[in-house]
C-alpha cells in the first residue's frame, strides 16, 4: 500500500484563550508521508515567522526530494537512509534560514522555534525533533511519548532532581535547551521507530501537554480513534477549557494499513517498468 493510502492525517491549530496571535505552524503531506509542527518564539510576529520558515523548509524540501526517489535508498558516504538524512539536513537547513533572517533583520533578532516532524515510509516513522514540541504514540490502549523534550525540566527529571509527579508543579516548564534558529548550528534528535497498523501518532505543541494531562490525552485518542477530526477538536477544546494559556496545535496520524516498500527482484523489475 502506498503511504498516502495507509495513513490518515488530521491537523489543527488554535491561538488559545490568552494569546492574540498564533506562533505555531503545522504542515502535512500525505503523498510523501510527512508531518511537521513548530512552535515559534520571538517578539511581535517573529515567532510565527520562525515556525513558518521551519515548517515550510522541512515540508517542501523533503517532499520535493522524494519525488521519484525512495526514502529507503542509502547514502553512499554516510550509509544513512535517505529518509533519515533528509529530515536531519532539512531541520539544519531551516535552522540556517531562520538564523540568517534573524541576523539580517533587527525585528527578527533572537527568534527561534521548536520543531517535531515525522516521516512515514516502509512501515516506519523517522522522527526528528528540537525543543519541547512532542510526539506521542497510542498503541492499543497505551499512550507513550516518542520524543524527549529538550528542556531544563526534562534534564532535571533525568538528573533525578525532580520526580515526574513533581514536574507538574514546576514553574520552569517553559525553558527549552535547544531550539531551531537561535544559533548558527543545531543538532536535531533523530530516531527511527517501527509502526504498527492501528497506531495513532500525536504531534503537539506544549500548549497541549502543559494544559491537558496525559491521562486525558490518552482517553481522548482511545475513545475517538475512529474519528480523528473529532479527536483533534476535543484535544484543543480541553486545552482551552483548562485555560488555553498558550497556542495549541495538534497533528494526528493514524496508521490504517501496511506501507512496506516493495523489495526483491520482482519489485525492482516492476519499478523499472514503471519508469
Amino acid at each position: 500500500m502506498k503511504v498516502e493510502d495507509a495513513i490518515e492525517i488530521v491537523s489543527q491549530t488554535h491561538p488559545g484563550m490568552v494569546r492574540s496571535h498564533n506562533e505555531d505552524s503545522v504542515a502535512q503531506d500525505a503523498a510523501c508521508g510527512l508531518v511537521v509542527l513548530a512552535d515559534g518564539m520571538g517578539g511581535y510576529n517573529a515567532g510565527e515567522v520562525a515556525s513558518g520558515i521551519a515548517v515550510s523548509v522541512v515540508a517542501t524540501e523533503i517532499c520535493q526530494r522524494l519525488q521519484g526517489t525512495s526514502p529507503t535508498e542509502r547514502d553512499e558516504t554516510t550509509g544513512d537512509e535517505l529518509g533519515v538524512l533528509l529530515l536531519r539536513d532539512n531541520i539544519r537547513k531551516a535552522n540556517a534560514s531562520i538564523f540568517e533572517a534573524a541576523q539580517s533583520q533587527p525585528q527578527y533578532a533572537g527568534m527561534g522555534t521548536t520543531i517535531v516532524s515525522g516521516l512515514f515510509y516502509d512501515n516506519r516513522a523517522v522522527v526528528g525533533h528540537v525543543g519541547d514540541s512532542r510526539m506521542y504514540r497510542l498503541r492499543g490502549e497505551t499512550l507513550e511519548t516518542v520524543t524527549r523534550d529538550h528542556s531544563l525540566l526534562q534534564e532535571q527529571i533525568d538528573g533525578g532532581m525532580i520526580s515526574i509527579e513533581d514536574a507538574r508543579l514546576s514553574k520552569n516548564k517553559n525553558l527549552v535547551t535547544r531550539a531551531v534558529g537561535i544559533d548558527a548550528e543545531v543538532e536535531p534528535e533523530i530516531h527511527v521507530h517501527d509502526v504498527q497498523v492501528g497506531d495513532i501518532y500525536l504531534l503537539c505543541s506544549d500548549g497541549l501537554n502543559d494544559m491537558v494531562e496525559d491521562e486525558d490525552i490518552q482517553s481522548t485518542l482511545y475513545a475517538m480513534q475512529s474519528n480523528l477530526t473529532l479527536a483533534a477538536e476535543q484535544l484543543i477544546q480541553m486545552a482551552n477549557d483548562n485555560g488555553g494559556r498558550d497556542n495549541v496545535s495538534v497533528i494526528l496520524v493514524k496508521v490504517k494499513g501496511e506501507f512496506a516498500v516493495p523489495r526483491g527482484w520482482l519489485a525492482n523489475l516492476f519499478n523499472w517498468f514503471k519508469k
Binding site: M41, N174, I182, S219, N242
Partner: protein, 272 residues
C-alpha cells in the same frame, strides 16, 4: 520578586530571606546564609537550591532533621506556603504568583543558550547569567559540550532589542498545574433505563466517558467547565437526546435528559 523564606518562632516573625542565590544554607554556624543560633539546629542543617523559579529543600544530614508541613523529610520540592520546621523555628516558603505583573511574558517559551557565541550579541549578561551558568553547570554536568554551554535565556518580547534578561530568582507566574485550575462542573450520573443492564448507574468522574460499542455506535460524554456534552464519534446512526437525533456537533446535556444510543435508553442527571 524573588521567592523568599520567612523565619519565625512562636508566631513572631524574625526575618525574611529572599532566595536570591542558587544555594542558600540554613544552620547554626555563622557562615550560613540563614543563621539560626539554637542548639537544636545543626551547624549546617539544610540547604535550599533555587533553579530559576523552582526551589528545592534538602536536609544536610542534620542531627534533629526537619519537617515540611508536619512531615519529616530529607528532600522536598518547595511549593508556595510550605512550612518548614526546624526545632522550634518555622520557615515559610513564599513564591507568590499573584504578585507578578508580567505573567504572560514568563509563560513564553524561552531558550537557554550560550552567551559566548556570536549569535548572541545581546544575550543576558550580569548577575543573572552568572548565577544561572553555575546552576546549569550543576544541573547537567554530564551534558556534552554543545548542550552544557547554555546559559542565559532570552525573552523575545521587545521590538528592537529582543533579549531582555530575566532575573533567575524571580518567581514565575505560570499556574503550577494548569489542568487542575479548571473548575469542575456539578457531579453527574448516567443511569441505564432499558436492556440487560437496566438500573445500572455510571458516575461521570472522568473528563471523557465512552458510551456504546466500538464498530457499532460510539458516543463520548465530555465533562467541561460549564457542563457535560455528548458527541457522536462513530456509527451509522447518531445518538438521540429526548427523541431528537444529534448532529456532528457536541450537544450540551441538561438534567434528566434521556439519551438513546444503539437501542439503549439512559438518563442523564446531576447528583445531589
Amino acid at each position: 520578586m524573588a521567592a523568599k523564606l520567612i523565619l519565625s518562632m512562636d508566631g513572631v516573625v524574625i526575618r525574611e530571606y529572599p532566595l536570591n542565590k542558587e544555594r542558600m544554607t540554613i544552620g547554626r554556624k555563622a557562615h550560613n546564609d540563614i543563621v539560626i543560633d539554637n542548639l537544636a539546629v545543626s551547624g549546617e542543617h539544610a540547604a535550599v537550591v533555587t533553579i530559576l523559579h523552582d526551589s528545592f529543600l534538602e536536609d544536610l544530614d542534620s542531627t534533629n532533621g526537619l519537617e515540611v508541613n508536619g512531615v519529616p523529610t530529607k528532600k522536598h520540592f518547595l511549593q508556595n506556603n510550605d512550612l518548614i520546621e526546624i526545632g522550634k523555628y518555622k520557615l515559610k516558603y513564599i513564591n507568590d504568583q499573584a504578585g507578578q505583573t508580567n505573567a504572560a511574558d514568563f509563560e513564553k517559551t524561552m531558550v537557554l543558550r550560550a552567551p559566548v557565541k556570536q549569535a548572541a550579541p545581546a544575550a543576558a549578561k550580569g548577575d543573572a547569567t552568572a548565577s544561572f551558568m553555575r546552576t546549569q553547570a550543576n544541573v547537567d554536568a554530564a551534558q556534552a559540550a554543545g548542550a552544557a554551554e547554555k546559559t542565559g535565556k532570552f525573552d523575545a518580547r521587545p521590538p528592537v532589542a529582543p533579549v531582555a534578561p530575566v532575573a533567575p530568582a524571580a518567581p514565575v507566574s505560570k499556574p503550577a498545574a494548569g489542568p487542575a485550575a479548571a473548575p469542575t462542573p456539578q457531579a453527574a450520573v448516567v443511569q441505564i433505563l432499558t436492556g440487560p443492564n437496566a438500573g445500572k448507574e455510571l458516575e461521570l468522574v472522568k473528563n471523557l466517558t465512552t458510551l456504546g460499542k466500538p464498530g457499532v455506535q460510539v458516543a463520548v460524554l465530555t465533562r467541561r467547565p460549564h457542563g457535560h456534552f455528548i458527541t457522536h464519534v462513530e456509527g451509522a446512526s447518531h445518538p438521540m437526546v429526548n427523541g431528537v437525533t444529534l448532529g456532528d456537533q457536541p450537544h450540551q446535556l441538561n438534567d434528566h435528559d434521556v439519551i438513546e444510543l444503539a437501542g439503549v435508553k439512559m438518563e442523564f442527571y446531576f447528583k445531589g
